[in-house]
């Protein structure tokens, strides 16, 4: 009597386990996990998606890959223009670092 009850209990547990595994395999729990927002489960996927987006422009030179003397001189001019803009920004930064408020009265 006791053994038969034990066998039935084991049978029920096995059926439940197999059923659970089957539902998991069929994706029945996907909705639940997404509802819980378990982002931590897929960090690799997120990183892969981020890496697909280009972070920076690949070419800065207006002459492209042209390596002639003339193109190189144009590259130098482009570099100088950027340097000049950098110097302007540098002056603005200095000005902002030395900024003082107009004295207020009242």
């Amino acid at each position: 009597m006791y053994i038969s009850k034990l066998v039935i209990a084991i049978y029920i547990v096995l059926v439940l386990l197999l059923g659970g595994v089957g539902l998991w395999a069929a994706g029945a729990f996907d909705g639940l996990t997404s509802a819980l927002n378990l982002d931590i489960l897929n960090p690799q996927e997120e990183m892969a998606e981020e890496q697909e987006q280009p972070q920076e422009p690949q070419n800065e030179l207006m002459t492209g890959s042209n390596a002639s003397d003339q193109a190189l001189e144009q590259d130098v001019n482009q570099l100088d223009a950027e340097l000049e803009a950098f110097n302007e920004s540098s002056a603005e930064l200095d000005s902002s670092l030395e900024d003082e408020s107009i004295e207020q009265e009242y």
Partner: protein
């Protein structure tokens, strides 16, 4: 403290004549009626003068406050434009800077509207004083944004130099294959590469040292730490600039050296410029 004392003394000195007339008035009515009439007349004309002086002080305070707020708003707008044009800053960092600049702009616009509409002297005084206090925020967010924008420009410049380095190396290799002595050019190329790396490292340090700074909330220690961080970042950018200038000198040496090898030029890729470099129609 001194300003308050001075204001108090000024107020007392303005009130003194009226007080004296008030003391003299009723006591002397029967004795010197003519003089009393004159004194009363004086007393009634002094009150409008006091009001007029107070109004003039308020008007002047509002004008000064307006000038300062306008000056800051112009600087914030100019800085915001710099940030928007900084292509090398990532979007999230750019958004953070934009939020800080917009927040300060909104605060100043609100303050300006309140001061312009203000008629209560005490409220106006508090608002005017808050202009001076809020300068600490302004003096943090504007340099912070400039530093980020400049660091972004360093990265753009070093990208240009790096691409040029690629072309120059190819030309140098070709010259070497043709039997030219390229030792000086190779040394300049190595120097250029080192300057590019160094400039980028300085730019990165400048941003890392300042990107997370927060307003000091009147905490002197935080204020001093912020100022030190901004100055350190300024120095990093100065060193980055120095690297760029020296790298540019290396580029000049290599180009001049290659030209001296004529007629070997050019044996590397000599394709036409890409479409985006051509003038727009």
């Amino acid at each position: 403290m001194h300003k308050k004392l001075f204001t108090g003394l000024l107020g007392l000195s303005l009130l003194a004549p009226a007080f004296a007339f008030a003391q003299l008035g009723p006591a002397n009515t029967d004795v010197r009626p003519a003089a009393t009439t004159e004194l009363r007349a004086n007393a009634t004309t002094t009150r409008p003068n006091i009001d007029a002086t107070a109004e003039e002080r308020m008007r002047r305070a509002k004008a000064l406050a307006g000038q300062e707020i306008e000056r800051r708003l112009r600087a914030l707008n100019a800085t915001a434009e710099r940030v928007e044009k900084a292509r090398r800053l990532n979007d999230s960092f750019k958004a953070e800077l934009r939020t800080d600049l917009n927040s300060e702009t909104n605060n100043l616009n609100t303050l300006r509207a309140r001061i312009e509409a203000g008629e209560d002297p005490e409220t106006l005084r508090a608002d005017v004083q808050s202009i001076t206090r809020s300068h600490r925020v302004f003096a943090l967010v504007v340099p912070q944004a400039h530093i980020a924008a400049m660091a972004g420009r360093v990265v753009t410049i070093t990208a240009i130099m790096s691409e040029m380095g690629g072309k120059l190396k190819a030309r140098t290799d070709t010259a070497a294959a043709a039997g030219e002595d390229v030792a000086a050019l190779v040394a300049a190329l190595e120097s250029l590469s080192a300057h590019i790396d160094s400039a980028n490292a300085h730019a990165r340090a400048a941003v890392q040292g300042t990107s997370s700074l927060e307003p000091d909330q009147s905490d002197t220690a935080v204020l001093q730490a912020n100022q030190a961080a901004l100055k350190a970042a300024r120095e990093e950018l100065r060193l980055a600039h120095q690297d760029i200038v020296e790298g540019r000198a290396d580029i000049r040496i290599i180009i001049d050296g290659l030209k001296a090898f004529k007629p070997a030029e050019p044996t590397t890729d000599d394709t036409p410029a890409p479409a985006e470099s051509e003038p727009a129609e």
